[in-house]
Symmetry: C2
Subunit: 219 residues, 2 copies
């Protein structure tokens, strides 16, 4: 990496690594929700095991970012891009942690019968995954407008989350035998709501990278 073109190659390779990590996170979220829905123990265990890989990717990407900054003294725009990658990788890793939390819940409930067929929670998971796809595309395409659309999707998530919350409360009040499991499902819904928050963060970083402006999508 002696030249400016070497710098931009390394930056592009960093972005590819970030996208690869985004793909694994998306899979982790999807598999964790499926594992819960089907009370599928082996799938839940896979999500938990694969999280080490995400942690390793985070460390590797971070170290490469810091080295790139130190060696190449990038200009303002490139520095902002590397700063964005540094922040996004943290959000991706946290999303992976939420998937692990959901997978652990799937393991906890694996001997039981679900108190109700899960429909809205998987729907929440699907929206989160769609959002992640949009967030990563906006980043790759430097598309601040597309990133901005995540705010609306996050409103959908907040709405659905409130609905799930109310339904589970009613279920618990009507039938106290559901309380133990319903509280677990409340935490799952919260995890997915947090996943969506991290994706809006990713959208905010993209807007920052493109415009230099920090905008709060999560209002």
């Amino acid at each position: 990496m002696d030249t400016r073109s070497g710098f931009h190659e390394e930056l592009e390779s960093l972005e590819q690594s970030l996208l690869a990590m985004g793909g694994l996170v998306s899979q982790a979220v999807r598999d964790s929700v499926t594992a819960l829905k089907e009370l599928n123990q082996p799938l839940a265990e896979q999500v938990i095991e694969r999280d080490d890989q995400l942690d390793d990717m985070q460390v590797e990407i971070e170290n490469r970012c810091l080295r790139l900054i130190a060696l190449q003294q990038p200009m303002a725009g490139d520095l902002r891009t590397i700063g964005t990658v540094l922040k996004m990788v943290t959000d991706l890793e946290r999303m992976g942690d939420h998937a692990v939390d959901i997978a652990r819940t799937a393991l906890k409930l694996s001997g039981e019968t679900l108190i109700k067929p899960l429909i809205d929670i998987p729907r929440l998971g699907e929206i989160a995954q769609e959002m992640l796809g949009i967030g990563l595309r906006a980043f790759v395409d430097r598309d601040a407008e597309l990133a901005q659309t995540l705010a609306d999707r996050d409103d959908d998530v907040d709405h659905l989350y409130s609905q799930i919350f109310r339904e589970l409360l009613v279920l618990m009040i009507e039938d106290p035998s559901t309380i133990r499991q319903a509280t677990q499902l409340l935490f799952v819904a919260q995890s997915l709501e947090r996943v969506a928050d991290h994706i809006t963060n990713i959208g905010e970083w993209t807007i920052y990278m493109v415009t230099g402006e920090r905008r709060d999508l999560n209002l």
Copy 2:
């Protein structure tokens, strides 16, 4: 900042800013739990308002870290220190977010009577604050052994959190009229458990900074 000594002055000033932020986070956690315990609405509102300040501090510290790396091309050890500050500032900001979540719960419950006097939740808050003090001291003193002690304290937190969880479940099962509030308190306990997790992260970053080795304290 034309000289190496200028570099170390700026690094020291960065550390001071990080400690100042740590102090505000500690206050936010303490005040949020007090606001909940006393259902003190003005105090809860203060915690929420002051969070903007924490967000601004995070942005400022991060920007200074990136500029310092770009301008000074630090050696491996110094680069590790700046990387540590970058990571710690994320953990501190997340802790502030958890304090805001707790303060919002205090607002939500502010017209109600508590289903039980809160003793274990404030205790959890106190342990978290002690841990934060230890974590920041270990960072300042470059004391990897002190940072390592956070693992034991985090075990205490996990133990107390499980106990609170079980008690709240029993309460809900025995008296369904407590369900709405008890689920809120479950989330509060979870927030404090997460705060403690972030402090063990801070301990891990300190160990990494001192030894170059990444150790998982949260086992």
